[in-house]
Symmetry: C2
Subunit: 85 residues, 2 copies
């Protein structure tokens, strides 16, 4: 089941790459909700802790990386907001 | 740890509510990447199966609901695209 979990984690983790690339390319993040970014980032951070604490490798690894990608989206959202002002 | 996992799951799950509400209100989903939506939806679907198969209640429950919310975003993205055409 760990392999299955790693594939699931890889998909959810890698899914943020096209979103980061799109936002970086278009310099447009208006449609991304702050509520989503912050709540999701907080949840993913907790999932990372949950995975580490329970020794669940797929949950731990994927959520640490996802947290990194979501943080990039937050930075892009802040930066593109400045451009719009 | 299950409570911790449930809180983590609740955050990542509930985080999609503000995104769905924003997209529904603004009728604008251009900044949401198709790559993200489809890969993420696929990954969350697998996480739901992973949670059910391993009896991990937080992972199973939260990912089934998240899958529902992401599906709403996909429908909204399709619908708003028609409006733009």
């Amino acid at each position: 089941m760990t392999v299955f979990g790693l594939v699931a984690g890889a998909l959810t983790m890698l899914s943020f790459l096209p979103q980061v690339l799109r936002t970086a390319r278009t310099r447009s993040a208006g449609d991304l909700s702050w509520g989503w970014l912050l709540l999701f980032g907080g949840g993913v951070g907790m999932w990372a802790v949950y995975g580490i604490a329970t020794g669940d490798v797929p949950v731990a690894v994927t959520n640490v990386i996802t947290l990194g990608l979501v943080s990039v989206l937050v930075v892009l959202k802040v930066r593109t907001r400045e451009v719009e002002v």
